[in-house]
Amino acid sequence: MAAAITSPVPVAWYPTLAIFMLAIGLVVTASFFIYEATSSRRNRSLAKELTTGALASFFLGFGTLFLLLASGVYV
């Protein structure tokens, strides 16, 4: 029996997901750069930088993907 294949996320959600994930990603990116600019070299924690960067890139990555899908560039 053949079953229809659908997208993993409903197509109608793409614009909302894109806006929210990009917003979160940009806020985390901002905090990353604020931390980079304000903390001095001696008491800066590499682990904190990396986790903030990873979190920001996760949200920005998925946000960009959903933005592409919402704007009709089906990757």
Partner: protein, 582 residues
């Protein structure tokens, strides 16, 4: 009606004569065959009804054959014959059992057909063999419907016309059914688009009813009977011929099937000569350029979205879309009306929901899609269908209802690493009858879908890592210059001040806690609790002042920068003392 000039009439006659001479050699071989061949005489056709539909640019010949087995032994195959001149234009051939009278056309299942080359037959005849589902016993009979579709079968004559002329075309065939079997009773009906008929071959028993020409019935004709007929008539149907059509079907598992179609269309009718007057064309469209066509209609699948229509210059705004639950109708108007011989190229594209075309069965995914063009009544000389599968698909298998040339290639598209596998299907001479569904089966791991977000995430992460590295790495060339040393010191001082600030903040919070416990004391009178709170606060503050001492002594070295902080520290210390006393 305009009166035909004697000279033109003569030319028409000569052309028809010429066609007859072309077929002369065929005719003589046929005459020879009919007297000598006895090999295939087991079968007789007790009745043949042929209808030739010439109402569009495509010639559709429907034949109903009543097959009877007269000889000994069962018959499992029936031969269908076309002269070579016709066979090269044959686009589609279908045979189906016609069970009982009064049933709708194409009601039966289609029978397998293959091209054969029986021995002792002239090369100017092309044979196809239809396999019967059950062998026909002696004396039995059955009825089959054969549909043959020919492209480029209507020849424009005259070949060149001006804008004001009407378009006349010539069609030629045989009035007697060409068959390796003897035929008892037969008739032929030619259906024309309009009642205006320039000329037609008159044989005995030729009747004309409106726009239909009826030949026959003819009785008891031997095998390979041939009676060439030519019909010269007016037609204003759009002769839209796509010399090349490239269809690209791209699957995205994120929920879309994107179709892009590149057309190269020419008007295949009588060529236009002389000059073109737009004014005459606009003012009297039925008299001036009646054979030209202004628009094409494409019937797209339902729920099509993001439809576009453009060419090299850009978007073409003259298009319209009607949407209903069963189909999406797209009307496109080229930049200019197409006269005979004129050509245009354009691209249309549309997106379709994934769940309408992509299915899964037995662990394999498959695309179920229509092969031909969605444009109505279009003849395609060369059709290339490309199915772009998602990256990471493997184990590809193609199933088509008719033979096509297959190939494979790769395409690099958005966010690809190794490229997407592309299935290439090629077919020449495609008519609307080829708009049947074909399937592309493939295997795909759902985790491969995460490849695209992973590429994006790693791209962003690389950016952040680059920032971290830039901030951490000391890029100054001279490590001993005064400015460098000053900067280093400034960094150290800043770091120390930050530490001092954090300790002060901690002290302040301890202080607040102590104040809260004092308030509690005044409210509840619980001295014991206040005492313990004070004890912990004292020990904490002692610790903080111990931590603070080396930092302060470090800061004292940089006299200019520390005074402010020491002042703040002193004032705070005094406040603490007074609080303690209180």
């Amino acid at each position: 009606m305009f009166k035909q000039l004697p000279a033109e009439k003569l030319r028409t006659d000569r052309l028809v004569m010429g066609l007859r001479f072309d077929l002369l050699s065929l005719f003589t071989t046929l005459a020879l065959l009919s007297t000598t061949t006895t090999v295939l005489s087991d079968v007789i056709l007790s009745r043949v009804d042929r209808r030739i539909d010439l109402t569009s640019q495509i010639a559709r010949v429907t034949s109903t054959l009543k097959v009877e087995n007269a000889g000994p032994g069962p018959v499992s195959e029936i031969l269908i014959t076309f002269p070579e001149v016709q066979a090269k234009n044959l686009a589609y051939l279908m045979a189906a059992l016609n069970e009982g009278k009064g049933k709708v056309k194409n009601s039966g299942i289609s029978l397998p057909i293959k091209a054969v080359n029986p021995e002792g037959m002239p090369p100017s005849l092309i044979f196809h063999s239809v396999s019967l589902p059950t062998a026909l016993g002696e004396g039995d009979s059955l009825t089959i419907d054969v549909l043959a579709v020919f492209t480029h079968a209507l020849r424009a004559f005259p070949e060149e016309i001006t804008q004001a002329d009407i378009q006349l075309v010539l069609f030629q065939d045989t009035a007697h059914y060409l068959s390796p079997y003897a035929v008892n009773i037969q008739s032929l009906t030619v259906k024309l688009p309009k009642s205006r008929i320039e000329s037609y071959t008159k044989l005995d028993n030729t009747n004309i009813h409106g726009s239909d020409i009826k030949y026959g019935p003819y009785e008891n004709l031997p095998s390979f009977s041939y009676a060439p007929v030519a019909v010269h008539f007016e037609t204003n149907q759009p002769f839209a011929v796509a010399q090349e059509l490239v269809r690209e079907i791209e699957i995205s598992h994120w929920g879309n099937v994107q179709v892009t179609e590149h057309y190269n269309i020419v008007h295949g009718g009588a060529k236009s000569k002389g000059e073109f007057s737009r004014l005459d064309f606009q003012a009297r469209p039925h008299l001036q350029g009646a054979s030209a066509f202004r628009n094409l209609v494409a019937k797209l699948p339902p729920r099509s979205h993001s439809i576009y229509y453009r060419d090299e210059i850009g978007n073409i705004s003259t298009s319209n879309v009607w949407d209903d639950p069963k189909k999406t109708e797209l009307l496109i108007e080229p930049r200019y009306p197409l006269f005979g011989g004129w050509r245009t190229t354009f691209t249309i594209g549309y997106g379709l929901p994934l769940q309408d075309f992509l299915f899964e069965s037995e662990g394999k995914r498959f695309l179920d899609f229509s092969f031909g063009s969605p444009i109505n009544d279009l003849v395609i000389d060369n059709l290339i269908v490309k199915v772009v599968l998602p990256e990471g698909s493997n184990d590809i298998f193609i199933s088509t209802p008719f033979p096509v040339k297959q190939g494979q290639e790769t395409k690099i598209s958005h966010l690809d690493f190794v490229g997407r596998p592309v299935v290439l299907l090629e077919k020449i001479n495609v008519v609307p009858e080829h708009n049947q569904y074909f399937q592309v089966y493939y295997k795909f791991n759902s985790l491969s879908m995460l490849m695209e977000p992973f590429i994006l995430i790693s791209g962003f992460f690389f950016l952040f890592v680059a920032c971290i590295v830039y901030v951490h790495v000391d890029l100054s060339i001279s490590k001993s210059s005064a400015s460098y040393l000053a900067k280093m010191q400034w960094d150290e001082v800043r770091a120390t001040i930050q530490e001092v600030q954090s300790i002060i903040n901690q002290c302040l919070s301890t202080h607040e806690k102590l104040e809260a416990s004092l308030r509690d004391l005044s409210r509840t009178g619980d001295v014991q609790a206040c005492k313990t709170a004070r004890k912990t606060a004292d020990s904490l503050l002692k610790e903080y002042s111990k931590e603070l001492k080396p930092l302060l002594s470090f800061l004292q070295i940089f006299s200019s920068g520390y005074s402010n902080i020491t002042l703040r520290w002193r004032s705070w210390w005094q406040r603490r003392g007074s609080c303690k006393r209180g």
